[in-house]
């Protein structure tokens, strides 16, 4: 139950990273992703991991929060590890059971891929940890603004994002309530066989969807009553300020990419 609260929630610690322009953070995260995609051996991975840990420490947010952020994706990481381990056949043969073979190269590839995933998910959680959803949204609007030239309205996208982020915890809460109501009438999800579980989930979907629509309708009324008209000009409550720290933040990720590239070149 407490885990859901982590979704899209900022944790204020007063670090120097918190007040950085969200546009810089978004750019940094994209560059980080690019750096990770370049990582394919242990030493660059180590460099990326050290870089990530230093940044995580600098946010003053306990590392266990980052670990928690990565936890929901453990199945995916295990999956990536298993697939890579079993399909890559380089290096020494380590294990052979029937058709299944595990090579040293495959094992190392699998571990590297899974670690990259772990780094990516936990590190990018920094974005939501250090930025309030409203600011993040405004930053996203800033980053997406050039899309207007090809006819995509960034305002609508960010409005949708903002409302989704705002209502996910509320709707999850409601889902729990309905689950409990069903359990109280004898249909306890925990005790049912798998097939029945599936059926119950369908019957859960109906009330949750209906109530989400009702909420949406009330939300629209409330937005309209407060003078919101889509596409109309609005003033912005938060002012995005691009500081020198923001430039430094983005540059540090460029440096990370450079380090990874240099290490790759040196090692091959």
């Amino acid at each position: 139950m407490r885990n859901r609260l982590l979704f899209g929630r900022s944790i204020e610690t007063g670090s120097w990273i918190h007040p950085i322009d969200p546009r810089a953070k978004l750019t940094g995260m994209v560059l980080y992703l690019a750096a990770l995609l370049l990582v394919d051996s242990w030493i660059p991975l180590l460099a990326a991991a050290i870089f990530s840990l230093i940044y995580m420490k600098m946010t003053l947010i306990p590392l266990k929060y980052y670990a928690k952020a990565a936890k929901p994706l453990w199945v995916l990481m295990v999956f990536i590890f298993v697939v890579q381990t079993l399909t890559v056949d380089e290096g020494r043969l380590l294990l052979e059971i029937g058709n299944v073979t595990v090579y040293a190269g495959g094992l190392s590839r699998g571990l590297i891929s899974a670690s990259r995933m772990l780094l990516l998910v936990s590190f990018t959680a920094m974005l939501t940890f250090t930025t309030t959803p409203g600011l993040l949204n405004q930053g996203l609007g800033g980053v997406l603004a050039p899309l207007k030239k090809i006819g995509v309205s960034a305002d609508r996208l960010t409005l949708m994002m903002g409302i989704a982020l705002r209502f996910i915890p509320t709707i999850l809460d409601e889902t729990h309530k309905i689950l409990k109501a069903q359990a109280a009438r004898g249909a306890d999800l925990k005790e049912l066989p798998w097939l029945e579980k599936g059926k119950l989930l369908v019957s859960l979907l109906v009330p949750v969807t209906v109530s989400a629509f009702r909420r949406a309708e009330e939300l629209v009324l409330s937005m309209e009553a407060r003078g919101f008209i889509i596409g109309e000009p609005r003033s912005e409550y938060h002012k995005l300020v691009w500081s020198t720290k923001a430039t430094g933040f983005v540059l540090s990720f460029v440096v990370l990419i450079a380090i990874v590239l240099v290490l790759k070149l040196v090692l091959t």
């Binding site: 915890p169 509320t170 009324l221 407060r226 003078g227």
Partner: protein, 280 residues
């Protein structure tokens, strides 16, 4: 706005979502600026629909609504919107921002108010509603009563002349309801707002100046709250119970005791009675 110009002038208004099922038929009334009117009636009598019509969220089928002398229509709603604020029933579904601060700012942003003024209004209205310490909180961290305070702050920050409360207290617990009522009383005393509240809460009705009783899409009665609570038939039709002081006075009347006007108005009847019982 002159003194004579009514805040609302409703003439022969009818409304139906579909032609077979009329919701409101031929309503006419006026609301004076600075007054506080309760709209009461049983569930399904069209109160909320009327609130949406008055707030310009729905358009009338027939008749006319004038707001401060201006005909409310799709052409004028943009301009009139800034005079009308609405607070709805479910505190969760009117919380648009991700934090209290952003939610109060939402309407101000829509109105293109400069940043400095926005900051000032957000802080001053948050302080006024005693939510200044909650500005950075996410709605999931707030109680229902706190969320409803945020909703009111968000509306007051827009500085409207007219505020419509659509069952704003019905999802709150007893204590939060009492606090909300205190806020409404405070607003009434300020005198700058015309207030319309749709409510089932006897205390809230009692605190207002006037009660319009809706029934079957029409106006069943238009009277003072005091008169409403004397009329047992009307109370039963609206499924209302009179507040305690009113019931107490009725019982006293049955015993042949009349309560002097000045004591009734100050709400001190109980305070006068209990020392008498203690003395016995």
């Amino acid at each position: 706005m002159t003194e004579e110009q009514p805040a609302y002038h409703v003439q022969h208004v009818s409304f139906a979502y579909s032609p077979e099922q009329p919701v409101l038929s031929d309503l006419s009334f006026s609301i004076l600026p600075g007054s506080w009117v309760s709209l009461v009636g049983p569930n399904g009598c069209g109160k909320s629909t009327l609130a949406k019509l008055l707030g310009g969220l729905l358009a009338v089928n027939e008749g006319m609504i004038e707001v401060q002398g201006i005909h409310l229509s799709s052409a004028t709603i943009g301009k009139l919107r800034s005079h009308i604020g609405m607070v709805f029933q479910n505190p969760d579904n009117q919380f648009i921002g991700s934090t209290v601060e952003e939610d109060i700012a939402f309407g101000l942003e829509s109105r293109c108010i400069p940043r400095e003024e926005m900051k000032e209004r957000v802080h001053s209205y948050a302080e006024k509603l005693e939510i200044g310490h909650l500005l950075s909180k996410h709605p999931a961290e707030l109680s229902g009563g706190q969320k409803q305070r945020v909703a009111i702050a968000a509306i007051l920050a827009l500085e409207p002349d007219i505020i419509i409360f659509d069952e704003a207290s019905s999802m709150l617990d007893e204590r939060a309801r009492g606090e909300l009522l205190d806020i409404l009383r405070g607003m009434k005393e300020e005198g700058r707002y015309t207030m319309i509240s749709i409510t089932h809460d006897a205390e809230e009705i009692m605190a207002s100046d006037r009660a319009i009783v809706l029934s079957d899409g029409g106006i069943a009665a238009d009277l003072t709250p005091w008169e409403l609570f004397q009329d047992d038939q009307l109370l039963q039709a609206c499924r209302l119970i009179a507040p305690y002081p009113v019931r107490l006075e009725k019982e006293l009347n049955k015993l042949g005791i009349t309560v002097p006007q000045e004591i009734r108005q100050s709400g001190e009847v109980e305070d006068r009675i209990w020392p008498l019982i203690l003395k016995k």
